[in-house]
Amino acid sequence: MASDAILREVSLVLPMVPDMEIAAGKTATALAEFMEMSSDKIDEVRMAVVEACINSFEHSHAADHKVHLNFAVLGSEEPEKLEITIRDSGVGFSPDDVEEPRIEEKLWAARKRGWGLKIIRGLMDEVEIHSGRNGTTVVMRKLR
C-alpha cells in the first residue's frame, strides 16, 4: 500500500533567536498528538526537532535569519508517519565530514559539544541531511 500520501501539512517559519525552537517542538507535538503517537514517541520527535532548529540557529548563518519547517502527516488512510523538514538557507556543511562524537573523547576535551546530529538520528526512525551552498535541509521521519 502506498503510504506516502500527505494527510495533513503544516508549515512554520521561525526567527533564529533563542528559545524559538520551543515553538517548533510544540507544533511537532500538536501533529504527533493528532496522529495519536505514544507520548514517548511524541517527546522524542519534539527533542529531535528542537535539536535541528538549534543547529540552524547556531551554524547556518542564514541571511534571512529564519528556519523554515514543514510538518507532514503521511499515510494511506490512517496516519502512519510524521515527516518533518527543517530548512535554512545558510552556509551548509558536509554531513559526512562531521565526526561521530564519542564520550571517551569528549571527556577532558576542550569541545564537549557535537551531539545534536547523533541524538537526532538516535531518536528518529529516518534522517536525511541535504546540505550545500544554498543551505541545509534536514528531513526526519517517525513512524506512528
Partner: protein
C-alpha cells in the same frame, strides 16, 4: 526569557541533590555546572541531579554536564541522575553518558545506592 531553569540544592552529608525545574539549554547547563562546582568545592563527593521538573533538554545543555562528570572522576566521586523522562534517559544512552553517571528511577533509589 521565560525559559530559565530553576535550581534547588539540598546539601546532605557526603551527598547533595540538585533539583532542576525547566528547560536545560545552554544557560541551564551552565547554571547546573556552577551549582555542582560549588558543591564539589564544599566537599560533597556524591551528587544527584534530580531532573523531575525537567521535561526538555538540548544537546548543548547536556554537553555542559560532561564537565561535572570529569570533575567527579577527578575526585573519585559519583554523579547520578534520577527522575528522567524516557526521552532524556534515551538521550543519555545515545551519548554514552550512562557509562559515567548512574541513572536511577527515583530519588529514594539514588540516595539509597549512594549512601550505602
Amino acid at each position: 526569557m521565560s525559559e530559565t531553569l530553576k535550581l534547588t540544592v539540598d546539601r546532605q552529608d557526603r551527598l547533595a541533590v540538585i533539583y532542576t525545574e525547566g528547560y536545560i539549554n545552554n544557560q541551564g547547563g551552565e547554571e547546573i555546572a556552577r551549582a555542582a562546582d560549588e558543591l564539589i568545592g564544599a566537599g560533597h563527593k556524591a551528587l544527584v541531579l534530580n531532573l523531575h521538573g525537567t521535561k526538555l533538554v538540548n544537546s548543548i545543555g547536556i554537553s555542559i554536564l560532561i564537565e561535572i562528570i570529569e570533575k567527579m572522576l577527578e575526585i573519585d566521586g559519583t554523579l547520578a541522575f534520577c527522575c528522567l523522562t524516557p526521552t532524556i534517559e534515551k538521550t543519555f544512552h545515545i551519548m554514552g553518558l550512562a557509562q559515567y553517571a548512574r541513572i536511577f528511577k527515583d530519588l529514594d533509589e539514588a540516595v539509597g545506592a549512594l549512601t550505602d
